[in-house]
Amino acid sequence: MDITKVWVVIAAYNEEQVIEETVTNVLAFVDNVVVVDDCSVDDTAQVALNAGAHVLRHSINLGQGGALQTGIEYSLKNGSDYIVTFDADGQHNAAEILPMLSALQQSKSEIALGSRFLGKTLNLTWQRRWILKLAICFTHVTGGIKLTDVHNGFRVMSRNFCKHFQFSQNRMAHASEILSHLSGHNIKFIEFPVTITYTEYSKRKGQRSSNSFRILMELFMGHVSK
């Protein structure tokens, strides 16, 4: 595996407190990190650049899905063979990137999806656990795809997959959009156990449980307005 062909994409919005640590952790395992600063009002872009990441900046806030797509297109332009999506807030463990990549290559699948329920989750509240379990059931019923985790931002994707799939949902519904694509096109995927650590910072920055209704509305409006 040529590690120079692996790119990690991190969408960031007002993450100056943690982005340096996240980028440094990732750079310990891969050579290329691209941080997409989604119109932060703090110093996220400069901190990420100083930490050794390529930095792209949105002049308007698009949302996490939009930022990831920008990073993916940039990575493809730079000749990446594998693209990893990774959260900015320090929830994910960078040491799991390469094992996940190896598992993807061995399985000859197009995408590896991180699963906190196959792996470990630290400090997960019971409310969040129930929301996530409901989302798993919902995805199984509506999308016909059986997974153990559905809103995990830690993924490894092949170049081929990224060339044929585009996030059109700019905001949080992108995570459901990718699953719908997998189901609709019979794309081979694997789930890989990952560790998610909820810190006070990530809980404060992360999604509220009520956002699940917002995601449903985004998906609905996305379908009716196509």
Partner: protein
């Protein structure tokens, strides 16, 4: 009489506007004929009752209200679709600028330079 005249002016304006500015021919014809029909019914309100009875609705006014509701819902979805399309264009533009103006670290795989600062 005042409301009748006012609605006539508005519908005449909309009929002309549709005929000139709506690009797709089918929609242009449908809108134009609809507004001309609306002008007819403004001046002959009793005729709506005849049509309403045909569709099983008692009063002409109710019939107009139903049609009006359908038109509003349709218009809303057209607006949402249009906004979504514009949003996608903005996204493409923002993305293009972000990638064009990418900032590259001095030594992407060599982090020792950080200690020089």
């Amino acid at each position: 009489m005042i409301l009748t005249s006012l609605l006539t002016v508005v519908f005449v304006f909309m009929a002309i506007y549709s005929a000139i500015f709506v690009r797709r021919a089918q929609i242009r014809y449908v809108l134009f004929i609809t507004y001309i029909g609306a002008i007819f019914f403004v001046w002959n309100p009793d005729e709506t009752t005849v049509i309403a009875n045909y569709f099983g609705i008692g009063r002409g006014l109710d019939f107009i209200l139903v049609l009006f509701s359908v038109a509003i819902v349709n218009a809303l979805f057209f607006i949402i679709k249009h906004l979504n399309s514009q949003h996608q264009d903005i996204t493409k533009l923002i993305r293009y600028i972000a990638i064009r103006d990418a900032r590259i670290p001095r030594h992407p795989s060599d982090t020792s330079w950080r200690h020089e600062q």
